[in-house]
Symmetry: C3
């Protein structure tokens, strides 16, 4: 996938301004909404069981994130997810902290059993947990995973007939169609602040809302996201100034920059 194709997808996000409905965690909820907006889409955060289905009814993508889950909150997620499935809009699930506690692991399973999830996203250990391989998650941090992330992603994608995204120094995107993308954009400062993982899922949601090939959409989203981090890091003295610059660079992305910086490859 070349820069021109990626830039074309970003243009569609900006033109169509898809509504990305989130049920997410209370830590990074602002950043998830803001990154969606700065990328040119429209965010909405609504979790009451009395309104999630109706809100899905006007949305173009649904992002679920279990970062600060409770059983009641997961019930709302499942309600929203079923409505999204019925309406055939893409569902993205960020399995934050799967493996850290039984609740997270079990609720992830319950969501996956009740909702068709189009993009399953996490770090290498979280995805390892979902795939059933040995892995250690310290809070929301990947410590270790047994096996090759690329193989784990591919195997889970096949099993679930979904796109699987592992974020990290190199992002791995395994499509249901057996095609695997690597995204080498990004900067280490992105890992020094809280929220870059969660925000990535929101960006994937915005791109999946305008592109039916969810593996391509995810790769394009992560490439734009990562290159904005690269551009921001050049002007930053640390994670505080980085974050402000990061949003500036996302906002100022254009075809020229994307063409010059995109680093997406196929396995």
């Amino acid at each position: 996938m070349d820069g021109k194709e990626i830039a074309g997808m970003l243009s569609r996000v900006r033109e169509k301004k898809p509504l990305v409905h989130h049920l997410t965690n209370w830590v990074t909820i602002y950043d998830c909404a803001n990154v969606t907006r700065v990328f040119g889409a429209l965010p909405v955060m609504a979790h009451a069981r009395e309104e999630v289905e109706e809100m899905v009814g006007i949305a173009q993508a649904l992002v679920l994130n279990i970062g600060t889950l409770t059983p009641e909150f997961v019930d709302s997620m499942i309600k929203a997810g079923k409505a999204a499935n019925k309406k055939k809009i893409p569902v993205i699930l960020d399995v934050v902290g799967a493996g850290a506690t039984g609740l997270r692991t079990n609720k992830t399973k319950q969501i996956l059993e009740n909702v068709r999830v189009d993009v399953i996203k996490g770090n290498s250990a979280e995805i390892g947990v979902v795939a059933g391989v040995e892995a250690e998650v310290k809070g929301v941090e990947a410590i270790s995973v047994k096996g090759e992330p690329k193989e784990i992603a591919a195997s889970l994608a096949k099993k679930m007939n979904s796109t699987v995204v592992i974020t990290g120094k190199q992002d791995i995107i395994a499509g249901a169609d057996k095609i695997i993308f690597f995204v080498d954009n990004g900067h280490e400062l992105m890992g020094k602040i809280v929220g870059t993982g969660c925000m990535a899922a929101s960006v994937i949601g915005a791109f999946c809302a305008v592109e039916k090939n969810h593996a391509k959409a995810s790769a394009a989203a992560l490439s734009c996201y990562g290159m904005s981090g690269e551009l921001a890091a050049k002007q930053s003295n640390g994670p505080g100034s980085f974050k402000a610059n990061f949003f500036d660079e996302i906002y100022n992305l254009d075809e020229e920059k994307i063409t010059g910086l995109a680093r997406v490859s196929r396995a």
Copy 2:
């Protein structure tokens, strides 16, 4: 209303440091608290039904915002609102997403039936929904509204005997006394980040705490808020740096700047 009068109101906020009690949404709760503080007032965010009445008891204004409402949360809002009415402190209601779902529309009605709201605030479509005219709200974004916003605001203000505020490129403030103010301060970058609408309600709350004429207070608040955005935009490369500069400019507002930049007019 001239710059001197506006600057006088800001001075009173800074001197009296009114406590502005919020029951707001989980997305922009930090920004609402922070903008209140940076304007010189004191924020407090408390939603437990066991304490909202007591917290209102030490507050000088109450801000309600339905951005991530649940029925239980609205129950707490109504409890707090009734206590505020009894104590005769101003109540500001931000009808975030009214019209997007039945829950939001109905709960807005329920609040307005149970609490005397002094300032009803929203974007043009949200206020249209409250006023009962045809309008489309996409998540929390105004898409369309049937009719002239100025007329809708004036008619709703009369019906409710309240101040009605429609925020947008030009803010419209319709007082219960039939006086209408326009505020032409502001910058388009304010609409590129999440939270500027919610924060505006907090600022209105701080000003209403020190000025009994709520239409004037709202106009002064939005003028100060908007001019800070103008000043911030001049130094910003995008929405990330803009947000940091915006808080700096709010903090550094003084009579000279306000006198030079205020753009408040009467219909």
Copy 3:
């Protein structure tokens, strides 16, 4: 305590990357997580009663903060606190708004009766309320306290056999061993934004995770935190740019800066 000892503690935080489990408020939850991360530790925010004990099981410190408490949330705190006591990891309690409402005062007592708290932290009036002296708290702001803060802290530390921290222009840390530290690092801009109090508790949590003398850990944490504020203020035009610079300076702290700037003294 000299700069070298403080710098050594910070190095241990960065090397060991302790997991600091938070049950905190919804206003500053992001900043609490982020400051933990920027200091080099790992944050995790989890409040569901179904998982708090298990999350404590992989944590090295527990931070409790009652800023937006509900009775159910406090139940989760007590569950987590008991698990932390059993595991013998340090528990930090930030008594945000104690004294502002009966709920906050009573729930603080309930936590202290059910959980052994290693570090009790608040502003002068909040700690006054916990100690049972006359004090006024306006929302989350200290207005007045009867008596000498140093004496109140020392007496409460003795009574509870805990470390007591009063934050303010000069921070006071009273150890259970009767040793009292003063920290004179800090800058007034830290008080102009929301969240610096809450974040301080997170930093104390990270340092207590690597240092058994909790009074020393708290003093070192507050010294590093305060000097980062001093460094940030020099480059800032107001509270917006200050906040970004603050995180940069925390991230860039090193032994040389700490040795030159630390201002910790003993009573």
